[in-house]
Amino acid sequence: MLEVQNISKSFPGNDVPAVHDVSFRVASGELLSLVGESGSGKTTLLRLIAGLEIPEAGQIQTNRGCLFGENNWVVPEQRRIGLVFQGGALFPHMSVAQNLWYAMGKIPKSELQDRAEEYLKLVQLNGKANRYPHELSGGERQRVALARALVAKPDIILLDEPYSNLDVALTADLREQVRDILHQKKITGVLVTHDPADARHFADRIAILRKGVLVQLGLVKDVVDHPCDMYCSLLIRGG
């Protein structure tokens, strides 16, 4: 479960807050798409949830307790929230297996190898454990990034426009795979995207952000069929 309450964040030099008074709740195992045009604050919101930015006000909670509140803030490494970056952010000096081992912490080497194999199999990359990031295609890199985020056994996975560098056919294929894996592992997921097709096909619910404000939140079908205004309509139907 992830609960965000009245979260706000501004950056110096910008009159308009990047995120303003945003609240929503994602149930355990549920998948949510955060949609908005460039500069709408969706990536900032994701970074606030991950702990990479500190909010100015509000609360963030998960099953494990309060991550951010009146007087407390939990550092990113202790939140058990995984983040799949745009482009993957794989460590270039480590092989695929070493990238996964890095996320596992201190466990016996045999277990490291078994778990790496298990997760590489999950993302259909068996046999590529010894490859380096530059030896992989864009889609393979994104799948390694997902495997690396999953192998740390997070409660929640955040995906920051993970398909933006991929072609249409590969995106559709990968989107289905990621959705199935997250459902299979019963992991709560939040996808940030500006692509309406990604948003519709990935999530159970959709949240639409405009200039840092949450303007609509609902089931995919409801939001697609009944957008609250022209902006949401254009955004979610791909105008």
Binding site: E77, L83, A89
Partner: protein, 542 residues
């Protein structure tokens, strides 16, 4: 999951360590400023007699060397970046080589050339009197000093301009040609105005080196402010006046830095408009090519070939009776101190650059930036600051009978090198940290690993070559450093630079050749390391 109090977040290990490091590096400068308020009776006398001369000489050298360096650097950088001509690749790197020659070594080799002007001076004296001959002698001496300093310092401008011309203006060069403009017109109206921030940044470095200069101005008898600090502090024993002169030097340097920052800010549109499109070089006919080769050869001949050939000749002539055993011992000690300090300094710079990135706190960033200003401050001022600081600490320790533990020790000299050269390692490492995407660090944190794991397992392996390259740069700078070493070295300790300078001062001009050549060889090796590093940086992406 350990929740933390938000108010307490700002104070942690990284912040405390960074602030302590930065304050330690700033302490000598602070000591200089505090020392200014000591009472002195000599100051009024100095201010009314020698100070105007020190200021005038400094300004003459600053303007002269600045102008000639620009004349050497701008055309050569433009030619190498814009035209394709035979031996272009050779000149591209040969034009950097004078940077390996310490200014004092160049001064040794040109000093006796002044004697060639004696017949001319005598003729002027016979024709127009003693006053006129003095003016001519001074003109030749100052002119020669300006020429030799420019010929070894212009690469600071050349290197940055060459990169700007060749990498960042391709699209504008092509646009100019499509509008029917000749390369010379594009240079005058597009390339040079666009390169102004780079030119000013390089020129600032040259000016700071001139203000810092001690060896060459001392040999040529042109007392500048830096020479004045030496004379006042060590000659007259007037520390308070020496500190006041040091503060004047620091104010001049800060004014240069402020001007450079102001220009950079004003011309920000230029940076914003730059692109990464490389332009195709224009092929030249052999006549024009030879004119360009002449322009490229001139500063290399003056700044590198002539001094090196003379030093080689002297070194061969001096082999008989030269104390090789003593020389090798001093060289080994000098190399040991320089390499140990350079490695330690680079590791500290790496830690500072990483911590600034991790914290992202603007106050901490500014403090670290301020603490790496040591390179801008003349080394004699740094030396004086370190002396004052360590003498105060020794004074405190003397109460518990541990007098003179720090002053005059290798620790003092090593610490002073760190204060002076921190920015040489910090700036490139900070830039490289930006190259190692911020997202890698963030990815590491969201995978449950802390800053320490990120430092040791991500940044260290990715940047260790850069750290070594920075250590090499610092090592070369330490080997060339003269005034700071002269002030702070223990009485029985020589570096290659002080060894060579000592011989030259005593008139054993041939004996200074071997240590000077060793410094130059290490400098050339260092420049080749930088070349490799630049190539690696260019091909690296995250």
């Amino acid at each position: 999951m350990r929740p933390q109090n938000r108010k307490q977040l700002q104070i942690d290990f990284w912040s405390v360590a960074v602030v302590l490091c930065a304050l330690l590096l700033l302490a000598p400068l602070i000591a200089v400023f505090i020392g200014v308020f000591q009472p002195t009776e000599e100051w009024q006398h100095l201010a009314s007699t020698v100070l105007p001369g020190y200021l005038l000489n400094t300004l003459i050298l600053v303007f002269g060397v600045g102008l000639v360096s620009v004349l050497f650097a701008v055309p050569t950088a433009w030619f190498v970046a814009t035209y394709e001509f035979p031996t272009r690749r050779f000149w591209k790197w040969a034009l950097v080589m004078p940077l390996a020659v310490p200014t004092f070594a160049s001064a040794f080799t040109y000093f006796d050339v002044l004697e060639l002007s004696i017949p001319l001076i005598i003729k002027v004296r016979d024709a127009w009197g003693f006053g006129a001959s003095q003016w001519v002698e001074r003109l030749i001496r100052y002119g020669m000093l300006i020429l030799l300093l420019s010929s070894v310092l212009y690469p600071y401008i050349y290197l940055s301009l060459r990169s700007t011309f060749s990498k960042q203006q391709g699209v504008y060069f092509e646009a100019g040609r499509m509008l029917g403009k000749r390369p010379s017109s594009i240079f005058r109206r597009v390339a040079l105005p666009m390169a102004r921030p780079t030119l000013i940044a390089g020129l600032s470095l040259v000016i700071m080196e001139v203000v810092n200069e001690y060896g060459a101005v001392n040999l040529f008898g042109v007392p500048t402010l830096t020479e004045g600090i030496f004379r006042t502090w060590f000659g007259l024993g007037d520390r308070a006046s020496g500190l006041r002169l040091a503060v004047i030097v620091v104010i001049i340097v800060f004014a240069i830095l402020a001007f450079e920052a102001w220009q950079r800010k004003r011309l920000r549109y230029v940076e914003g408009a730059q692109t990464n499109v490389a332009h195709r070089r224009v092929r030249l006919g052999w006549r024009r090519a030879w004119i360009i080769v002449f322009f490229c050869a001139l500063p290399v001949l003056i700044g590198f070939v002539f001094p090196v050939l003379r030093l080689v000749y002297w070194a061969i002539a001096a082999t008989e009776g030269f104390d090789f055993v003593g020389f090798l011992g001093q060289a080994a000690r000098s190399l040991g101190l320089a390499s140990a300090t350079a490695l330690l300094l680079s590791v500290v710079a790496f830690f500072l650059a990483f911590s600034v990135r991790v914290k992202g706190d603007s106050k901490v960033c500014k403090l670290v930036q301020a603490s790496t200003l040591g390179y801008a401050i003349p080394s004699v001022v740094t030396a004086v600051g370190v002396m004052v600081l360590l003498a105060s600490i020794d004074h405190l320790l003397s109460d518990v009978s541990l007098s003179l533990v720090l002053s005059g020790s290798l620790f003092a000299i090593s610490f002073a090198y760190m204060v002076r050269f921190m920015t040489v390692a910090y700036q490139p490492l900070n830039a490289s940290m930006q190259g190692v995407c911020t997202t890698l660090h963030e990815a590491s944190r969201t995978l449950g690993q802390g800053n320490w794991q990120s430092l040791t397992r991500i940044h260290w392996p990715l940047l260790r070559i850069n750290i070594l390259a920075c250590a090499t740069l610092v090592f070369i700078d330490i080997m060339k450093e003269l005034p700071l070493t002269l002030v702070l070295r223990p009485s029985d300790f020589e570096t290659l630079a002080t060894f060579a300078f000592g011989f030259a001062k005593e008139g054993y001009i041939y004996d200074c050749a071997l240590p000077s050549l060793l410094i130059i060889s290490l400098g050339v090796w260092g420049l080749l390391v930088i070349e490799r590093w630049v190539d690696k940086e260019a091909s690296q992406s995250c």
